[in-house]
Every structure is written in C-alpha cells, then in structure tokens.
C-alpha cells in the first residue's frame, strides 16, 4: 500500500513542529526516518497515522485521503507502534496482542479461531510465544516493545509505522526485529536511532527541526558532510571484511571547534 504525504504542517504552543513535509512511499518499501532528538520523527509518524487532528496538509493511503477513511478502516490498513506504551491494567502478554484484533471484530464478528491463530503467529514472530501468559507489569522494556510490535502485526496491516522499535531491545532481538521488518511484505516507515541500522532501509528521510532536509538511498544520505551538518558528528565509512558491508564509525567534533 502506498502512503503519501503532502505539505504536512503541525504547530503546537506557537512552535512549528512539522514544517512542510512531503513524502511518497511505495508499496513494500522500507523507509527509515533519522534525525537528532526533537527533530520531529515521532510527530511525523503520528501525523502519518492520522493521530493529530490539528495537522495541516494531507496524508493518503493508495490515493485516499486519510481524513475521509473511518478510524476502523484505517486501523485495518495501518498499524503503529509508538515510542512508549504504558498501562496500569493487569493484562497478560497475550491479551495485549489480542488488542490488535480490535478493528476486525464487532458484535456480528466476535472473536474466533482465526483471531487466535493470528495472535499466536504474531507472538511467535517476535519470540514471545513462551511468555504469553506473563502479566504486562512483570515484563522488561524490551519484552513490552516486542509485544507492541506483535500487537501491530495482529492488526494485519498493510502499512506499519514503527517509532524507534529497537529501543530497549538487546542486540539479538534488534537484529531479529530488523530482519522481520525487512521480510514483511508491508510498507514500513521506521524511525531509527542507530544510523548503521538505518543503512538497511530502502530509503532514508532525514529530519531536522521539523523539516525533511534530505531523502534518498542510504548510501547517498549517510555522507560525512550530512552527518557533520545534521548530527554534529564526524564519521568514517569502514568496510566489514566479512561481507563487505559498509559500517559507520563516529567521532566527536564538538571539541575541535
């Protein structure tokens, strides 16, 4: 499913948080969002999910304006994993994932065997099958993050929005998650912190102060000049002798001003 955004603008408390962002993400593409803290990645994802009513501009799914699609229909097509999700409700891991079926159920279509199978599959995909009866309050940050991803998968969306999903995850689960995202036949927009992980995306958009200042293939984007200008770091591109992939190594440049 194609997701496009034109002239997205969001102002809050007199500040412009998102400042004229245009995007066009092709079906099946994995699009990475990078940028320093506070540059507007999370807010842009919320706008793409249609969660900010005050936003200006337009988001559309396969050419249909998001504002004219009922929320329930949006949730069947697009799932979002926010940077943090908290609850004080005493839910089990499995019950959290079951929430993902919400947009597919109604009085006429109650919970069925198919839903159970989808939830099982989602739990399995994030490696939480064995912990499905654990209460949410006893899970670690990384386990909670994986459950939220499973919940999003259980929505059976065609567009997946992920906000720094590798936060809290140990390195094994970070790599497992990125591989999962790559293999899913979905359109994925993913905000990432780790620029080396961002290299695995099909395309990258660089956010800075609410604007998308660059957009293109990772190799074109992650250049020493751009990294110096936007992220205020120096970078050297190294080659991993094992498989010849490029690796970025960063060094501080603030002191040498």
């Amino acid at each position: 499913m194609r997701i496009t955004a034109t002239k997205l603008v969001l102002q809050a408390q007199g500040r412009t948080i998102i400042d004229g962002v245009d995007l066009d993400i092709a079906p099946g593409e994995t699009f990475g969002l990078i940028g320093p803290n506070g540059s507007g990645k999370s807010t842009l994802l919320r706008l793409l999910a249609g969660l900010e009513r005050r936003a200006g501009g337009e988001v559309s799914l396969d050419g249909h304006n998001l504002r004219r699609i009922p929320r329930r229909e949006i949730a069947r097509r697009l799932a979002m994993v926010e940077q943090q999700a908290e609850t004080t409700d005493c839910l089990s891991a499995r019950q959290v994932v079951e929430l993902g079926r919400t947009p597919w159920l109604s009085a006429l279509v109650p919970w069925g065997a198919k839903d159970t199978a989808i939830v099982d599959e989602a739990l399995y995909a994030v490696g939480m099958k064995g912990m499905s009866s654990r209460p949410w309050s006893t899970l670690s940050g990384g386990e909670r993050q994986r459950l939220q991803i499973a919940r999003a998968l259980a929505q059976r969306p065609r567009v997946l929005l992920l906000d720094e999903p590798t936060n809290h995850l140990d390195i094994h689960h970070q790599l497992a998650l990125l591989r999962l995202v790559e293999e899913l036949p979905l359109t994925v927009v993913i905000a990432l912190h780790d620029l080396n992980q961002a290299m695995g995306c099909d395309r990258l958009g660089v956010m800075s102060q609410g604007r998308m200042v660059a957009c293109g293939k990772p190799a074109e984007i992650l250049t020493p000049d751009l990294l110096r200008a936007i992220f205020r770091v120096g970078a050297t591109l190294l080659t991993d002798p094992q498989d010849n992939t490029k690796v970025l190594r960063f060094h501080d440049i603030e002191n040498s001003r």
């Binding site: 949730a75 006429l108 929505q155």
Partner: protein, 348 residues
C-alpha cells in the same frame, strides 16, 4: 460469512446468554433479600405471596399493611438501590478506563457535587416539579461541573493527575455552591431534609422513582456493553485506542454522556452515595481481570448487590434509626479502598 464463522458467533453469543441469565438470577436473589430483610424481617413466604399476587394476580392471604410495606415501600426501595449501585459502579469503571486514572470516579471528578448542586437548586427554587425536574437539574449541574473540571484540567496541562486535582477543586466549588443555596434560600426544615438527602437516603423512594432509575441504569449498561471493545482499547491510552480503530471522540461523548446521566439521576434520587464508583470496579478487576467483557457486567452486578446490602445494613445497624446509606458505603468503602491502594503500590 462462512458457516464456521456463524457457528462460532452463535456459540459465543450463547455463552453470553448463559452468563447474563446467571447474573439476573443473582440480582433477583439480592433484590429478594433486600425486600425480606429490614427493620423487621418479613417471612419469605409472605414476600413470595405478595409478589405472586401483584405480578400475576395469585390469591393473597397476607395482611394488607404488610403487603403495603412489601409492595409500596421495600420493593421499590430495593430496586432503586440496585439501579443506583449498578449505575454508580459503571460510572466509576468508565471514568477510570477513559481517563486512565485509578482514582477516577464521579465523586472525585466533581460530577456528583455538580449533580447535588443542580438538584438542590431545583428543589429550593422550585423550578419544575417532581423527580424528573430534579433529575434534569442534577444533569445540568453534573454536565456543567464535568465541563468545568475537564476545561481546568486541560488548561493545567491535560494529564490525568491534573484532572484529579481539577476534580477536587470542582467538587469543593460545587459543594460550596450547594451550601450557599441552602443557606440563602432554604428554611430550617428544608435545610435539614436536604442535608439528610445529601448524605444518601433511600427512605423516600416510591414506584415512580423506579420508573426513572431502572431505565437509566439499563441505558447506561447498554452504552457500556456496546463499547466493550472500545473500553479495552483504552488500556494504553486514548491515542493507542485511536490507532486501534476507535473513534475516540464519539466514544468519549457517548460514554461520558452516559456517566453524567447515570450519576445525575442516581444522585437526584438517593443523594451523594460515595465509594461505590471507586471501590466496586477495583474489586471486580481483582476478581475477573482487566477486560471489560467481564468487568462491565461484573461491576454492574456487584454495584447493585453492594448497594442493596448497604441499604439493608443502613436500616438494621441502629435499631429504630436509619443511618444514611452514604455513611455505610463509606464505612465499608474507605477500608476497602485502603486495601486497593496498598495492593497497587508496586504499579503506581
């Protein structure tokens, strides 16, 4: 739909009907107990006799005075108690779920105080007569209080902590307004009556009150039942609910409207009965878990049974004297609430 899906749906709904029937049986037993027990317990056989006579015209041998006590006094009183208990428990549950705060209930958020103010204003000024007029006044007061509290919380930053603080301010304001109205306009006798009513009191309840309380409780319950999945989806907050496909605004308006209506009508009928909205949903979470498919019916049922029990206790606690029911619910509710706080200390 395929055949398997239809069979699944039928199985699911028939389980639901069994549980519903079970709940109704428990409720009927509680109502029966409420009618039997009182200042002077009446034999079960007499109660059955009167009910059979009134409901399907069986011959009755009961003394007309006892029959009058059972039919005109105890039964409506018990039915209103059940409706109020269910309505207040559901109001508390919905508020806790929607505002994501364990402390939320109609009292804490000032809704009850607003309802009292509205009801007292109508009573004293004599605008509109009867239970409907007073309920309408209570509804206006409750909605106004809710609006003010929500606006204040929003202006203060919009967190759920701010909402609770705004609710406390709102309660104080509307309680002060109530006292002001009483001091300004009521004569001594009216004032005494109103103060007694404010503490919660079912002794004046008659059949017309049942005609108001029961439909409102049923409407409130239905509003919750059709939003069970929406309520579940609020587990991770309003924004998460929206991304799960819930039309958050519409659901909020419907459910908060139902809460305001239930609180207003219950307060106008029986006065300010505290703690049910706070304690019953928490106790039910402990028993049936956090999901609303079980929590909504369980809270409604437990609220009804708890209120009937509190009413019986209020009548028999001190022989020859009726203790305000709000005093009884607070005496049970406050320690129960303390237990809940202690139990939740690790999750705060």
């Amino acid at each position: 739909m395929t055949e398997a899906v239809i069979i699944g749906a039928v199985a699911w709904h028939s389980r639901l009907i069994v549980r519903l029937a079970l709940g109704l049986v428990v409720l009927a037993l509680a109502v029966l107990a409420g009618v039997i027990l009182g200042e002077t317990p009446l034999p079960v056989s007499q109660v059955g006799d009167v009910l059979a006579h009134k409901l399907w015209g069986a011959a009755s041998t009961v003394d007309p005075i006892d029959a009058g006590i059972i039919w005109n006094y105890r039964l409506p009183r018990t039915l209103v108690a059940a409706a109020c208990g269910a309505g207040l428990a559901l109001s508390g549950l919905v508020l806790q779920t929607l505002v994501r705060n364990a402390l939320a209930d109609p009292y804490l958020l000032g809704v009850s105080a607003g309802a009292s103010t509205g009801a007292v204003a109508v009573t004293i000024m004599g605008i509109g007569a009867g239970a409907i007029g007073i309920s309408a006044g209570a509804f206006a007061g409750a909605a106004l209080a809710f609006g003010i509290v929500a606006a204040l919380a929003r202006a203060a930053g919009g967190g759920s902590g701010q909402l609770v603080l705004a609710g406390i301010a709102g309660s104080q304001l509307f309680n002060a307004l109530t006292s002001f109205f009483i001091a300004k306009s009521a004569n001594a006798e009216q004032a005494r009556g109103i103060m007694f009513w404010l503490l919660g009191n079912l002794s004046g309840v008659r059949w017309p009150d049942v005609g108001l309380a029961l439909p409102v409780a049923v409407v409130g319950l239905l509003a919750c039942v059709i939003h069970i999945r929406a309520l579940d989806a609020f587990s991770f907050g309003a924004s998460a609910a929206a991304s799960l496909g819930i039309a958050v605004r519409r659901v909020m308006v419907m459910l908060l409207g139902a809460v305001t209506l239930m609180t207003a009508v219950m307060v106008s009928l029986v006065g300010a009965v505290g703690f049910i909205g706070l304690v019953v949903p928490h106790a039910m979470r402990f028993l049936v878990g956090a999901r609303h498919g079980a929590l909504v019916p369980a809270s409604a049922l437990a609220g009804a049974v708890f209120m009937i029990a509190a009413d019986v206790v209020s009548r028999v606690l001190i022989p020859g004297q009726v203790v305000p029911i709000g005093v009884v619910t607070a005496l049970v509710g406050a320690p129960a609430f303390a237990l809940i706080l202690i139990r939740n200390r690790n999750r705060a």
